[in-house]
């Protein structure tokens, strides 16, 4: 069976998102009327003599007259041998499962999964069949009685002539039967189960090898279960696949429902989101499938932490690749994205340039005046105190306050700033009463005062205090600190802070994707970078709304002093329905930063390989033990191994992120670039405009034949640091 046959042939039933039983109603309502009436007749008269039935069902004509048989049949036919049969140019066999009654098993939960063989060689395929029927109450009743009689007989027998072997077996049977009786008394049902394994191979040698492999697998996994064919009965076996259990060869096995639950083998298909895209292939679980993950499927925030780098992408951090992926999927779902880049991630190597959608702001060139306020006019009253907090926080990045002088320095700074804004005609005392005199926002950028205007205030105040007769040493200290801090900002970092807001910034709130790059300024000084981050973050997230995303690359670089402020900004963003992605280039740092990233409550988390101690602290932080198999996997420290946790789903997979930089499609992208370059400037500026004008929707088409394997650079050839 192929995927195609399914996907194409069943378009009516398998529509995406269809609820399997959404149409409701009972069974016959879902079926064609004719068929229903015919089968009701059959149900009404189930008892026919077997002979008459057989006579009636004697088929006439040729096979072509029975389309359903034609749909199932092999091309030519079967040739049955003693323990295999030939079909469609290959061979196949049906194996039965056998178990010694006296063997003591120690199977773990879901042991049925272990029956699914793997790695049987090229061209070999298997179909595992399990047929279950619940035995009726009468049957169970009579067999329990019979079993008890036998047990009594056995007890006498063992006492007189039992050997060690028979006694052991009798004891096993005795305890089993007792347990079964107890479970049935507790309400369990009693089930008759037949298991078969259909193995198909291209030739006899491959079949023999496969069977040998299966035997070895079962010895490894169970040690008490063996497989064998019923000699000369392949035809009967094949015919009884769909026959009732009682018609099958052998006696099968009996379980209580409680016991049978342990062999439950309906496996998970891992992450297989209907809206998902390929992010890697699953590892470690029984079902090794492609992970189809809806990267955009989160409401609040997500966390990625991985210390690996991708050597093919200029040693890019894996979390930055995730950042690019998160960004792309948000854009494809019509959301806006803001990247706050603290770790030097070069977004142009991690995905297409998206130049038509992107605004780039290099925070090393001071594009935003720290004294300018952004927001709506009606929010002026609340904007101002928040703005003062921001400037205070920025100042504190340059000067470490102590518990003793913190409040006085803050107070003095706020006092001076308020006076400063009043003098500049932007603010007024008793602002509520004087709303008309406020003009905080929507000013021309060049009308907003700059750092150089403020510095003189501190000088003046300091001199006044120093010369005052009623001398306040604390106050003097505060103003001295402020004077020096702001003078330093002006003299040494004036290029960053003593600037007018650049006009480019105005376009930012329209762009679909905005990149704020703090990497260079971080090299200059961490304090400065944090000051600039604080200066920017409010502005950056201000225009984001429902479903829009802020992505922090290298969140471990954020100083703990400014996290409170950033959190406040994010809280506002969350209230508007915005989302945040925290990317850490170190798992330990992410764990230590729990207060900030709240990874335990993230919609999904992606973690790279962990060490023993990291895994231990992760479990402690999560307040939950990781399943042992999962723990072994995530501690393997295999390059590219990624652990994804979303709700109760845990998936470990080999990361293969496709970021739109596949070399096989490079020519296609170059053509797009060339086309874009030749386009008039105006058309590039207003993608929204064009969308509104109705640029025709083109279907996704296969422009280029895709690679059979993903190209090398999307392969997870990464190394842990």
């Amino acid at each position: 069976m192929t995927a195609n046959s399914h996907s194409e042939g069943t378009s009516t039933q398998w529509t995406p998102g269809a609820v399997p039983f959404g149409t409701g109603g009972d069974f016959s309502a879902l079926r064609g009327g004719d068929a229903a009436s015919v089968s009701t007749e059959r149900a009404a008269e189930p008892a026919k003599s077997a002979k008459a039935d057989k006579e009636q069902r004697r088929l006439k004509g040729e096979l072509a007259d029975y389309p359903h048989l034609v749909a199932m049949k092999p091309r030519e036919g079967y040739v049955f041998h003693s323990d295999y049969f030939e079909v469609d140019g290959g061979v196949a066999t049906i194996l039965g499962y056998f178990h010694d009654e006296s063997a003591r098993d120690e199977f773990v939960a879901f042991w049925g999964i272990d029956r699914i063989p793997a790695g049987l060689g090229e061209g070999v395929s298997v179909v595992l069949l399990e047929q279950v029927r619940r035995m009726g109450a009468d049957w169970v009743e009579s067999h329990i009685a019979n079993s008890e009689r036998l047990q009594n007989l056995d007890a006498g027998e063992q006492a007189t002539a039992g050997t060690a072997r028979t006694q052991r077996k009798a004891a096993k049977v005795y305890s089993d039967v007792n347990e079964i009786e107890a479970e049935i008394a507790d309400g369990a049902s009693y089930l008759h189960v037949h298991n078969r394994l259909l193995v198909k191979a291209p030739d006899l040698d491959a079949l023999d090898a496969a069977i040998e492999k299966i035997r070895q697998l079962y010895i490894e996994r169970f040690s008490t279960i063996s497989v064998a064919t019923y000699p000369g009965e392949q035809r009967l076996e094949l015919a009884s696949v769909i026959r009732k259990n009682e018609k099958k060869r052998g006696r099968g096995q009996h379980f209580t429902s409680a016991e049978f639950a342990g062999s439950h083998s309906l496996v998970t298909n891992g992450l297989n989101d209907p809206t998902g895209e390929y992010v890697g292939s699953m590892d470690g679980d029984v079902n090794n499938s492609a992970v189809l993950f809806d990267v955009n499927g989160y409401e609040h925030h997500v966390v990625v932490a991985d210390s690996s780098v991708n050597v093919y992408l200029n040693r890019a951090h894996i979390p930055d690749m995730w950042g690019s992926k998160v960004s792309q999927s948000a854009l494809l779902n019509n959301h806006r994205v803001v990247h706050l880049i603290l770790d030097g991630a070069d977004m142009d190597t991690l995905g297409p340039k998206l130049s038509g959608l992107t605004a780039r702001l290099d925070m090393n060139s001071g594009d935003i005046n720290m004294f300018e306020l952004f927001g709506k006019q009606e929010d002026e009253l609340s904007l101002f105190p928040a703005h003062l907090e921001k400037v205070v926080l920025m100042a504190e990045q340059a000067y470490e306050t102590t518990d003793d002088d913190r409040s006085i320095i803050r107070g003095s700074l706020k006092e001076t700033l308020t006076q400063f804004y009043i003098d500049k005609g932007m603010w007024a005392r008793n602002a509520k009463e004087n709303r008309k005199r406020l003009r905080l926002v929507n000013l021309d950028h060049t009308h907003v005062p700059r750092l150089q205007d403020l510095v003189t205030y501190f000088d003046t105040q300091y001199k006044a205090l120093a010369n005052s007769t009623a001398r306040d040493d604390e106050m003097l200290h505060a103003y001295n600190v402020l004077r020096l801090v702001f003078k330093d900002l002006l003299d040494n970092n004036g290029d960053l802070f003593n600037t007018y807001t650049s006009d480019e910034v105005d376009g930012v709130s329209q762009a679909r994707r905005v990149l704020f790059d703090f990497s260079k300024i971080l090299l200059r000084s961490k304090g400065l970078a944090m000051a600039q981050l604080v200066n920017t973050v409010g502005f950056a997230v201000d225009s984001l709304g429902l479903g829009d995303t802020v992505i922090i690359h290298g969140a471990e670089h954020i100083d703990s002093g400014v996290k409170g402020y950033i959190n406040t900004q994010f809280e506002r963003l969350f209230a508007r329905g915005g989302r945040v992605a925290f990317l850490y280039n170190e798992v330990d740092e992410m764990l230590a930063d729990r207060q900030f990233n709240r990874f335990d409550r993230a919609d999904w988390t992606v973690l790279g390989p962990m060490t023993d101690t990291t895994a231990a602290s992760y479990q402690k932080a999560l307040g939950q033990d990781i399943p042992p198999d999962l723990e072994t996997l995530i501690k393997k420290r295999i390059a590219g191994l990624t652990y994804l946790r979303r709700g109760v789903s845990n998936v470990v997979f080999h990361l293969e992120l496709a970021l739109g930089i596949d070399p096989a499609r490079a020519k296609h992208r170059e053509a797009i670039e060339a086309r874009r370059a030749s386009e008039p400037q105006g058309a590039r500026q207003a993608p929204r405009e064009r969308a509104r004008l109705g640029a025709g929707v083109q279907p996704v088409r296969r422009a280029l034949p895709g690679p059979a394997r993903l190209p090398a650079h999307t392969q997870p050839l990464v190394r842990s640091r």
Binding site: L59, A109, F110, V132, R134, G276, P627
Partner: protein, 288 residues
């Protein structure tokens, strides 16, 4: 209640014939044998005496009789032994006889050939458009695609919840249906992802060629890579019910199980006729 360790328990469907006894007497004892083996030997020896003393063989020479007796005993020893299939070998005689005629070993399934031989193997009377299956033995059925949530990577409490849920499921199932679970490995299906990709494409507000290129790359990966390279486990359920009423009941239990919790059955999808035949075809045809 979920257990820590599971097993295949001894069955309560035992008969006296399976009961093992050890013959002993006068300080001499044999290894324990099931009653049916002992009875088989006794019957065989009696038959041997009858054959040697009452049939035409009674006139034969002594050496011939001795040879026959030896052969008979060897055959009894062979047929009375347990095979790999845990059955006495004599049970294979019947199938062996059936196996001998060429017609039962060669089944021709060309479209122009007689339908009876293939029907005797795949005895299905009809599969209608909706996937309603009428089996040759008078039972009726329906096939489903099922996805569970069993995995070695589930947390302990989820594991217990799944086990309890499965136990409860089999308590609800009636004794009038049989559930045939089929596990196969097939290429991963990506049609839902492709459909959503197309929806995303149509909903795209910004018609940017680079975004479009991203969608195309995803499309290429889904169809050319995921759809071709990944063989994942696919599981199906064929419900085989004694009558339509029983089938309805089983369907209700199954649907409820899938709707109420994702523990035992995470996804349940009724297969229509073509899909059901595809599932069955996988059993009756060779590798493709």
């Amino acid at each position: 209640m979920a257990k820590n360790i599971y097993k295949i328990p001894a069955s309560i469907a035992r008969s006296v014939l399976d009961h093992e006894i050890a013959l002993s007497g006068g300080g001499w004892s044999m290894k324990p044998l099931p009653v049916k083996v002992i009875l088989f030997w006794v019957g065989s020896v009696f038959a041997l005496f009858w054959v040697l003393s009452s049939t035409f063989l009674k006139h034969a020479d002594f050496w011939l009789l001795a040879l026959i007796a030896i052969w008979w005993l060897l055959a009894t020893a062979f047929l009375g032994r347990y095979s790999a299939a845990k059955e006495m070998n004599f049970k294979s005689i019947g199938p062996l006889m059936n196996y001998l005629p060429k017609s039962s070993r060669h089944v021709v399934t060309r479209t122009s050939s007689d339908p009876v031989p293939f029907y005797s193997i795949a005895s299905i009377d009809d599969v209608d458009e909706d996937g309603y299956i009428s089996f040759g033995d008078g039972t009726v059925g329906q096939a489903y695609l099922v996805v569970g949530s069993a995995s070695i990577l589930v947390f302990a409490e989820d594991k217990i919840a799944i086990l309890d849920r499965v136990d409860a499921f089999y308590r609800k199932i009636d004794s009038t249906v049989e559930l045939i679970w089929l596990t196969t490995k097939e290429p991963q299906r990506v049609y839902r992802q492709l459909a959503h990709l197309e929806l995303r494409n149509r909903a795209l507000e910004v018609q940017d060629p680079e975004l479009h290129e991203l969608l195309e790359e995803q499309h290429a990966i889904l169809t050319d890579y995921v759809g071709r390279s990944f063989n994942s486990i696919h599981q199906y359920l064929v419900v085989k019910a004694d009558n339509l009423e029983a089938l309805r009941k089983a369907h209700t239990v199954l649907a409820a199980e899938a709707e109420e919790s994702a523990l035992m059955i995470k996804q349940l999808q009724r297969l229509d006729g073509a899909d059901s035949l595809d599932v069955l075809k996988n059993v009756y045809t060779g590798t493709r």
